[in-house]
Symmetry: C2
Subunit: 372 residues, 2 copies
């Protein structure tokens, strides 16, 4: 087995789990947020900077790396860890979400998905077997099965057919996986916003016995309450001795609500993307750094934050960097936002340890400005 999940304790105030995930590239304390390095780099950051803010694992992208620079090139380079100079764990998604997002550029069949590259229009085909082959070449610690992610909204019949195909594809992924001792393949539970379909998908996927499971098909445009509701009836169906990963979630409220409902792992481009666009997450809520009110503010972004950006730079300087289109500006806000979420998860872990996660949520959102 490539990985092993160790459940340390469950919070007495909620379903939140404190755990450790042992991987070939080190141990991850969960619950954890995973910064996203789509193209074999977390945008604007070095690996050392990611470690300085206590990133324990990063995510990279099968679809993007397959197209550029190509998984065979990365295999020749010695794998993705060596290629990008990152020696801690890596999770790769399957590319499923990306190819389905191509819309008219893709055609789905039972065999797989035919699509045209968003880079040059060239024609490609990714099957469950191909997605696994690519991830075997990349050498990620955690691989994701190639699934079909139903859109929102979608009717019951569509979602049922889609989840059943996802089960057949999950089986094919498992059969194709060549490196089970060094790479763990996670199954993905689909079923949209339908309780009976989540139950069906959970049963079928868990019957295939994967070392970890993801809840897919959420954070696709549905209201937040609906996402929380789906999590509430889905996570209890999942094994207690395996890690649980909620894909594509990364706002502070969703992270905390997800943990409360028993999720261990999250990823999202949100913190880095809004950081590059000049929006910071702070303990007092969002700060849009280009706003005129920050022009002569010589205070840090977040007075409660100990990150490199907040310890060394004023809002005034950060605003200047963004107004002048200087790269250092987006570096500093990316760094801060990722630190903010990783530190939030550290506090969440402590709150679980102390059996007070619901109290922590209340304290956090009183400052952050979230309505409970």
């Amino acid at each position: 087995m490539a990985i092993k999940y160790e459940l340390i304790k469950t919070c007495k105030q909620s379903g939140a789990r404190l755990g450790r995930l042992h991987t070939p590239h080190g141990v991850i304390e969960t619950p954890i947020f995973m910064p996203v390095g789509t193209q074999a780099t977390v945008k604007s950051m070095t690996p050392e900077e990611l470690k300085d803010i206590n990133s324990q694992i990063i995510l990279s992208n099968t679809y993007h790396l397959y197209l550029r620079p190509g998984h065979k090139l990365i295999e020749k380079a010695g794998g993705l860890h060596k290629f990008m100079n990152w020696d801690k764990p890596i999770l790769t998604d399957s590319g499923g979400f990306q190819v389905f997002s191509l819309g008219p550029l893709r055609k789905i069949s039972e065999e797989g998905v035919e699509f045209r590259s968003h880079l040059d229009g060239s024609k490609h085909f990714i099957s469950p077997e191909k997605a696994v082959e690519i991830q075997n070449s990349l050498g990620s610690d955690i691989m994701m099965a190639f699934d079909e992610c139903a859109p929102y909204p979608a009717d019951h019949d569509y979602v049922k057919k889609s989840l059943e195909r996802t089960t057949r594809w999950a089986k094919r992924c498992k059969d194709a996986h060549e490196n089970t001792d060094k790479q763990a393949l996670f199954g993905i539970i689909q079923g949209g916003m339908y309780k009976d379909l989540r139950e069906q998908s959970a049963k079928e996927i868990i019957d295939l016995d994967f070392p970890g499971y993801s809840v897919g098909g959420l954070s696709v445009g549905e209201p937040k309450d609906l996402m929380y509701e789906v999590l509430e009836y889905t996570t209890p169906l999942m094994p207690k001795d395996k890690p649980r990963y909620l894909m594509g979630v990364g706002s502070p409220d969703d992270l905390i609500e997800g943990v409360i409902r028993g999720i261990d792992m999250f990823d999202c481009v949100l913190p880095s993307r809004i950081g590059r666009n000049g929006t910071a997450m702070t303990s007092q809520g969002k700060v849009v750094i280009k706003n005129a009110k920050h022009k002569e503010s010589f205070e840090p972004l977040d007075p409660e934050c100990d990150c490199y950006t907040c310890k060394n730079y004023s809002r005034s300087y950060l605003r200047h960097l963004f107004k002048a289109n200087e790269i250092l500006g987006l570096r500093l806000l990316t760094n801060h936002n990722l630190y903010f979420l990783l530190n939030l998860m550290k506090e969440v872990r402590q709150a679980i340890m102390d059996d007070r996660l619901l109290d922590y949520r209340k304290e956090f959102f009183l400052k952050y400005g979230y309505e409970l």
Copy 2:
């Protein structure tokens, strides 16, 4: 006196000088190359990274900072050092070169230069007094006099009138300077490519007794041989006990040839600009990282280089980052190029110490591919 130049020795093979420049923010070993931080940031780099590659002093820009964010704002922030989190020496240029480069957007009179902002078209006026006031607000260790930089080619009569105005403006700058104990104001010698005019300008400017002198009006489009010739007859006119600064020069050949002709300080956007565009300076000459031949090269940019980029990343990965328009790519090449030039200057200082700079030049260019 804000600064003091200490001449350690002169190379027995050339006119090259080894020295130390004492400033309010520390001692600079000369000859030195100064990375350029036009808008209060050396593009893509943090101050810590600049220190890691042994940057001893950086340059920033009066014209750009006056327009954005404004020198009064920077004064309120506690000066440029504090604003940008850089505690080592800073040199600011006067803005003269930038406003003259505006072409039809500017109008020169004896009083100063009226111009329209390249940012929003707003009208502004910079006089010698204003250029000094701005630099006093910025608090740079070394300020430059507001001069008129003649274009190349320009006729004798034009250049003579221009250098004489530069002398009158230099006097006005000196009279306006309010902070002589903490900021050193350098005079600029003009005179184009005419020996008699360089002699006239050198005499007039040196008679005003500045703590340091710059050779201006070179690297403006003239052939390299002509620049070297002007330096050959200009530097012997300059005092031995004051630092000598050649503005706007930063290719490896020009740095070495400048040092041989007695120059102590250089600045140029070249290494960082070509780095951001994917060209690296290496001990074997230039490397254009996007070239297809680097696709499967798992070697470093420069096998002889000890910089962060060369110790940790392959050409193949760097090429991928540039092909994918990833910010980390231009960060890594900027870092490498600045390290390369700063390390070149360190080797040049050692060669002066060892009285073998001409031998060093020969060895360097045999590898670099420069015709002697």
